[in-house]
């Protein structure tokens, strides 16, 4: 009697385990399938379009005129545009984010931390359309009045994206700074260095790989951001020699979103081709990220 009871519960546990194993396996499968499905969609729809337009004509041509006869589908201007806007976001967002992270991790009094940290987290949760509205109503007029031009510009997009990558940069940098062993700081302080010297010469350099990771993730966010950028960048396809900080610009993402609604035929396919190029950008970033991680774990 007793023995059979035990085997019965064991049997139940085994069954339960098996079922849960399948549940976990399916959960894992869903995300993998989603990635595969998206890749297939992009490649199957995008590659033929790029082939029809011609790779060189697509990627290294700055003339975008889908409504012209004959039409031209060059996205070089948008590739360069994405790079400029992202670089601008890094220039604006990384110094502020990094200094904020240092402050939060090393200098911030506890009662202030209780305000600043949730504020940073809230910044991450604001929907991008809100950033776009803020940009269109506040940042664009600000840039127009202070720097000239019409406000819809690389600068406006960079400012908005710079703010948007702050939470990513701050939270990852902060945790990597906190992860630096306290013996480093103690050693430095013990040698007579001031607190500031210790933080900037010893602790932050020791957290280098975490900081780099935060920057790469920030770049990923900036490259892929669409809704906020479309409202502040002006979306003009600029010839390369006319691109300027205070002039409008079109990025890869905004090219897709501005024209997708009405596009048809090769025009639509060329927008998916634009998505393929964007996807390649993200893959390069992710590769850089994993290289960085494997390097830092070896150290």
């Amino acid at each position: 009697m007793v023995r059979s009871k035990i085997t019965n519960t064991e049997h139940k546990i085994n069954l339960y385990e098996n079922v849960m194993q399948i549940v976990f396996f399916i959960s894992a499968l869903v995300s993998v399938m989603a990635v595969i499905a998206i890749c297939l969609f992009l490649l199957l729809r995008g590659i033929p379009a790029i082939a029809e337009i011609g790779f060189m004509n697509f990627v290294f041509n700055e003339k975008w005129g889908p409504a012209n006869v004959p039409a031209s589908y060059g996205i070089l201007s948008m590739i360069v545009g994405s790079m400029y806007v992202t670089a601008g976001a890094i220039v604006i967002g990384v110094p502020i984010g990094l200094l904020c992270a240092v402050f939060l991790a090393e200098f911030c009094p506890d009662n202030l931390y209780r305000i600043v940290k949730p504020a940073v987290n809230l910044l991450a949760g604001i929907p991008s359309i809100i950033y776009g509205f803020f940009g269109m109503e506040i940042v664009v007029p600000f840039v127009r009045e202070s720097f000239g031009g019409n406000g819809f510009s690389i600068l406006s997009a960079s400012i908005i994206l710079g703010i948007m990558i702050l939470p990513t940069v701050i939270s990852i940098s902060e945790s990597s700074i906190r992860a630096v062993p306290s013996s480093y700081a103690e050693g430095s302080l013990g040698l007579g260095a001031t607190k500031e010297e210790t933080v900037f010469r010893v602790v932050v350099p020791a957290a280098k790989s975490g900081v780099l990771t935060s920057i790469i993730l920030g770049i990923g966010r900036a490259v892929g951001e669409t809704m906020a950028v479309v409202m502040v960048a002006g979306n003009s396809v600029m010839p390369l020699n006319k691109i300027a900080l205070l002039k409008p610009i079109r990025t890869l993402t905004t090219n897709i979103v501005t024209e997708m609604s009405y596009a048809s035929g090769l025009h639509e396919a060329s927008l998916i081709g634009t998505g393929v190029v964007l996807f390649v950008f993200i893959i390069i970033l992710n590769t850089a990220l994993s290289l960085l991680k494997s390097k830092s774990s070896r150290n």
């Binding site: 269109m136 819809f152 600029m238």
Partner: protein
């Protein structure tokens, strides 16, 4: 310590920038005409853009080729709302939107001395307008005839008005359900599509046995499909070309005026058509050059 000074420098520069922005914003009020015009346009795939650029001669056709000469650096938006917001916020901006979307947020200017009003579009005095057409080929079958009757009836034209387009004709007769059944295949203009969908919904409520097949693929495609007979009705948001008109029956569903809008602070109340073209092609870059 050196790093500390750098931090201090960055922070003080930021504060200065913000202060500079605030103080400048306060001093600049009023419209100064020597400023550059901010040209706002729609995206390349937009029907409104296609019609406006064609009417104003921004699109240059030469034999087989066709080039949109929109000035480099013109801002492009994928929606009327964003065009309005951009023009509302920029004193020196100019944009174009469907007449139905004009509000007090911006100022719709007269073109060649004619104000953009429903009456002027109806009478044909306001030149920047486009017809929404439904085209068919040869003798129409009873089902298509019935749908056309609905579209041109009081109910159909009320939907046109509700969608803020201009009804093509004074609402004539009430439509009564015919109890028809079958399928109507419709293709064409993306601009006409929203209106067409509303009409179909209302028609199907009266005639539940009628089905629609819709393809939203642009005016030219719709006209082509009607000519080769693969679709019953083609939708067009532009006037037919001569060779197309010869082969098709034309029903004017509605008329859509396109209003040219400027900021409320702009001192111009009217522009000439040729100046608008010059602004959009970049021949005129400053408001002071506009006559």
């Amino acid at each position: 310590m050196i790093k500390n000074k750098k931090v201090l420098f960055v922070v003080s520069v930021m504060i200065l920038l913000v202060l500079a922005g605030c103080s400048k914003e306060k001093t600049s009020s009023g419209f100064s005409s020597d400023k550059e015009i901010t040209v706002v346009a729609r995206d390349a795939a937009s029907g409104t853009r296609g019609a406006f650029h064609e009417i104003m001669g921004i699109i240059k056709k030469q034999g087989e080729t066709q080039v949109d000469n929109l000035v480099v650096g013109a801002i492009e938006f994928d929606g009327t709302d964003k065009v309005i917001t951009a023009v509302e916020g920029d004193k020196y901006a100019i944009g174009y939107i469907s007449l139905g979307s004009v509000s007090e947020r911006t100022k719709a200017v007269a073109v060649d001395g004619v104000k953009p009003t429903v009456e002027n579009v109806k009478s044909g005095a306001y030149s920047v307008s486009r017809p929404f057409l439904l085209v068919t080929k040869g003798s129409e079958n009873n089902l298509v005839k019935d749908f056309m009757k609905f579209a041109e009836s009081a109910q159909g034209q009320k939907i046109v008005n509700d969608m803020k387009y201009i009804a093509s004709a004074e609402a004539s007769s009430e439509y009564t359900s015919s109890g028809m059944s079958g399928t109507i295949k419709v293709a064409g203009s993306t601009s006409v599509t929203p209106l067409m969908e509303k009409l179909q919904e209302a028609y199907q409520q009266l005639n539940p046995d009628v089905k629609f097949e819709m393809q939203s693929n642009g005016s030219s495609q719709g006209i082509k499909a009607a000519i080769d007979g693969s679709y019953d009705i083609g939708m067009s948001s532009r006037e037919l070309k001569d060779e197309e008109a010869k082969q098709l029956n034309k029903h004017i569903l509605a008329i859509d005026g396109i209003a040219v809008i400027v900021n409320n602070d702009n001192t111009f109340d009217g522009l000439s058509g040729s100046d608008i073209t010059k602004i959009y092609t970049g021949e005129i870059t400053k408001w002071s050059e506009v006559k």
